[in-house]
Symmetry: D3
Subunit: 162 residues, 6 copies
């Protein structure tokens, strides 16, 4: 006699069904940062790192990671990204050198692209870390979070308040 | 003088042209299984495998593999999967412990998703094998096949008969 | 006041530490199969499938999958494979056409290669399925299992009995 | 006091925004080639290379590379390829043995597919090189270029002149 | 007449040569975290997230990302990881719910594994974000940094102070 | 009665066994090039391409492709690359603008790295093509070949003659 045991569905992972959602233009902007020491700050600004142009490499890494987000984050849906832009800004105060990273992602698809923007921001910061770790062993990647999200059908646009 | 030799097309691989097929909602359900010994059966049920929660890891592996099917199976077209769900059921009889694996995949695209469901089912079974192979060297992955397929334009829906 | 909650380790996934294991030559042989209808049997034998030479494509797919096993199976260690060989054999009896798949894998590394052999066997079968599914909707991938494993340091060689 | 330094945008990499472009059927044909010695020429024609059927393996490699172009070329947009076909032709003259490679790619998407065709052509040639390098150490991959491109919305169709 | 222009090497990216470094056992521990709202806190603790067991999925994602670090971070050397372990701890105070993430990585190779530990920590946090973003739109991934690094030949062991 | 049909081995692909080969330091240098029009020549030299710094992006792409060669070329063995360096040089004569690409790869492993150097050279050229194709539709990637190879155990060092 056969004895079947059905599992309780609770807690088991699934990639939720989004087949009913229409394709709309969607954007997301994410933020990350990295705090470095003055030597790294100078190297990056004067392009003297011996592994190469730190920000150029980091930007390529971030763009490539955005496209691969669905391979890296298990429950993310594959989305055909239409545009990716990564920009940098230095925030220097009180002997603290922080490089701010801003990633903007655009698609025309059925899910939001906040994970793509966040993943690109993280990988951009990680790549800067990798390029500079021989010079500064104490770097910290700063907070990583969503700044803005538009184009969702079921949810209103999101903008982080002040 | 130049001497051109044209090849006979026969037998050369190609990814067949599906650009004329419209995007429709399509589903597929595939089945696989794995036969384990009583020790593995107990470990899985009581979550005592030293590598981790066997079924949770296998489910993540299966979902990720479904999304990468077009990278693994050479002539498969890339398809934007919209939903993936993997469930388990034990079939215990006559001292045989068989874990049944069922994978359901959904897309809105121009080709069927049976390969995605079958690949996910196989990888789910392989992952269970990997997690448990230190305890049971005689496991066998059972038959892997399509249960159901819907949404094709040129072909009728398919359901495996009892 | 801060309130820390430590997790019970039980059930959480890890890739177990094998850094103490020496690199030795290791081999594994895995088996899979696929049952097809007579039309597919003839197409494969006479190389008349319109997607290409079925077994040639399947062999390439299996070899490439073996190398990527650590990307597909979550807790597998990355291993530098040194050799992969895939062979086929038809078993025809009583109107049943079964293509037997045998995969042999070799490495010089710190873990066994049974998962690499099994993954390659599964992907080889899945690729045959994909190449032939337009002609036969009722194919079944047969049992997939380990035939032989040698070279482990802590465990004796394994050979499946009759 | 905080001191922000804005970067000049010039020279920083981005994946340009194509979200406003409609999906249309697009095709591209690319050309590459490889010059080999007479021993390789004979091996390929009589299928006697010890690593396998050279052209069959190269064709699978080219098709798989076309699908992965957006992972290999950093600023390429991910595109759902709909069809890929690779053909070969020998050009033998004056003791020179040149294998001509032609790759045709089709999509229904918002960008052209010339990079997919060119990447597939290069990888096809590289794979032939790999299969034959034990026999001929002096092979050269020939020029690689676009032959034809159709379906762009903003740009006219392209055909290389004589 | 031909006119060659040599480039100044400065600023061009390279993967630096480590072929002279011996293989030694190396470890790294990295830290990240994510701040969530009370609803997410409860969902995770009672395993009630509708996408699945949040921490189980995140752990698998982190382990798989560690192995792929060299594919994600451009100038990282490929390293055969020997062990990966990810653990969690809640820090709850003053209405703030922060999940602390600790990743430990081990290899026997010629470079350190801090990038592997940091990448795994980031991806673990990103995956938690993805699983919970439907419930909490204001999550922030906390600082990500190296805690400890051992086994380097040319550089002393590193431990972050206080 | 069962009827087994053994296949002739001839022509079937395999990844040849290199487990008996010792790990030695090995290097390879490969060459490729791309011919562009004067507008592209000026854009690259003055870093005015709107997609970004062409050579910086191409260098990152080439380095990442070298590491993934075993995933792209089916019968290539996975090798842990130890160093990669890509350099450029302009050859301008008679209104022809040709960018020369030189890739140097180093490993400590059991097979040569000529495929890694050649693949990196091709992908570097393809990336330049992609960055500049909006401006010049007639670019051609030049010949791609091996310049030098050292460190093989069974085969003597190779250097291409003038």
């Amino acid at each position: 006699m056969s004895n079947f045991t059905h599992f309780n569905e609770e807690g088991r992972a699934k990639m939720v069904d989004v087949s009913a959602k229409p394709d709309t233009v969607r954007t997301a902007i994410a933020h990350s940062s990295i705090v470095v020491n003055p030597v790294v700050y100078d190297q990056i600004r004067h392009n003297q790192n011996k592994k190469g142009d730190v920000l150029a490499v980091a930007q390529v890494a971030g763009i490539m990671a955005a496209k691969k987000t669905w391979e890296i984050i298990p429950m993310c849906h594959p989305i055909p990204l239409k545009g990716i832009d990564i920009s940098f800004e230095w925030d220097v105060k009180d002997e603290t050198y922080e490089l701010l990273i801003s990633v903007s992602v655009k698609t025309k698809g059925s899910t939001g692209v906040e994970m793509e923007a966040l993943t690109a921001a993280s990988v951009t910061a990680l790549t800067i870390y990798d390029m500079c770790k021989a010079v500064d062993k104490g770097m910290k990647i700063g907070q990583t979070y969503l700044i803005e999200k538009t184009g969702g059908v079921s949810s209103p646009d999101y903008r982080r308040e002040g």
